[in-house]
Symmetry: C2
Subunit: 290 residues, 2 copies
């Protein structure tokens, strides 16, 4: 297949079994450039989970970016869409999120990695955040249609304002939960599937929020910001994260916002910083030392 | 959204609760015509499951075909792909197969519908059939590239023959299982998720096999044929099944077989018959009376 590249392979830990399953993950390429990672949330979620297994040395992982419109890809997978997980030695190709998760679940279980611990409270808190963000994104970009810069929140009509308020309320609830728990990740000191779900979504919200909506996570949600900072210090997240330009391009494409395609010409950059003021407050409170 | 149409709504059963949740399922439209159902296996699988709930009168279902390339669709779902399940009164949009299955699972549980009974033997028997069929399809269409009609099995080189043999072996195993169990569906007298998975796949294999590969399910697999006949007599299957032309078009598009696009001009037809000889044998054995 064209445009494959090997992102990483092999990880070693003393005392681990010599034979490691090799898992190949096909992720969607950026619409700007086929060799760059695209903004596919499910792809990043599974990549982070696989990375967690790779990091402790129990599996080998290869990630390949694919242009879903290429003839080579279509012919190879006959209509399946990324993420796609291939395990050649088992002769297996998993094209369904249910199957991919099932396979990673079993690997995690086999190697005693608590990646899939359940927590109904966390599940409930995070479940419709991204969905609501998309509603807000659509409503606000519609409202801002012919404006040069995003309008301010205070100028929004009631419908748009309601969708904004819903997001803020949900973010407040997550902030509260993180504050109560006082842990690095949602469930404790190590990453679980919930983090693989929430971290990329929060990052998309930041990138798209800043550039298209004049929106950012409110600065007073200090525990949430600290969580975002944790993402930016988590190898599984960093490794699997698309560039800002690729994230932005994805949403603009879907929203048919073609008026300014500047990001297609820019060198790819990645935002892994949080506002200076918030960072200082986090450091003052010692939250990042957890 | 353009090209919506309501396929069915409302089902009534005496003594059932008055309030029924309304579930909207967005399925991929045919590449030939936006108002026709496309060949999306996950879409058909969930549609069949929802139909089972609708049929006993516990939910209302509306199915909408969507052109994934339309601006209206992209803007509405911002990058999500069908199947998509919307439950407006819960303000919920499920865009992930894991979530969609989760929601249907809970509904089935709530209304005591045994749609998700587990059977590891059945699971194992059916799991890689379609995957292997796709390997065979690719290998054989490559081999037949410049031929006017599909080559016969006996003329195949060893690699292609091996992928053919694998399919036949798996079909034989499923035929055997069905023979041993003597049930209408895989698990018993009523349809489960395994049937929603296998029936559409077998049907695709028949339609694509006949037209592109010179392949059909071997006639001696009488229990398997009887199972195919059961599919053709199951409302959930019939209602959700794309036309032959739309199935064929989907695979030709993926395989980049553009040499003969006759099916785009044909009136849509659906094959719900099995070979006469096989039907007679089924009737002689009384298998269809189960």
């Amino acid at each position: 297949m064209a445009d494959d590249y090997q992102v990483f392979a092999n990880g070693d830990r003393i005392g681990m079994p010599v034979h490691k399953p090799l898992l190949e993950l096909y992720v969607k390429a950026s619409g700007i450039e086929n060799r760059r990672i695209g903004a596919c949330l499910f792809c990043q979620e599974f990549w982070m989970e696989l990375y967690a297994l790779y990091e402790i040395g129990v599996v080998k992982v290869e990630v390949k970016t694919v242009n879903v419109n290429s003839e080579a890809f279509k012919k190879n997978f006959l209509g399946a869409q990324p993420p796609i997980l291939v395990e050649a030695e088992k002769d297996a190709t998993y094209t369904d999120n249910r199957e991919i998760e099932g396979r990673i679940f079993h690997l995690a279980k086999e190697f005693n990695v608590p990646l899939f611990e359940k927590d109904p409270v966390v599940e409930k808190r995070i479940e419709s955040l991204y969905r609501n963000f998309k509603l807000f994104l659509r409503a606000k970009t519609d409202f801002d249609q012919n404006k040069d810069t995003p309008s301010s929140v205070s100028s929004l009509p009631s419908q748009q304002l309601a969708s904004y308020n819903k997001i803020v309320e949900q973010l407040a609830n997550i902030n509260e939960l993180l504050g109560e728990r006082g842990t690095r990740y949602l469930l404790g000191q190590s990453m679980t599937e919930y983090d693989c779900e929430l971290m990329p979504r929060l990052h998309h919200m930041r990138i798209v929020g800043q550039r298209l909506l004049g929106f950012d996570i409110p600065y007073e949600f200090i525990h949430l910001w600290n969580y975002v900072l944790t993402a930016y210090r988590t190898a599984a997240f960093i490794e699997s994260c698309p560039a800002d330009q690729d994230i932005l391009h994805h949403y603009k494409e879907q929203l048919n916002l073609v008026r300014n395609q500047r990001e297609t010409l820019q060198a790819p950059t990645k935002t892994y910083t949080i506002p200076e003021k918030v960072l200082q407050e986090i450091q003052r409170l010692g939250l990042d030392a957890k």
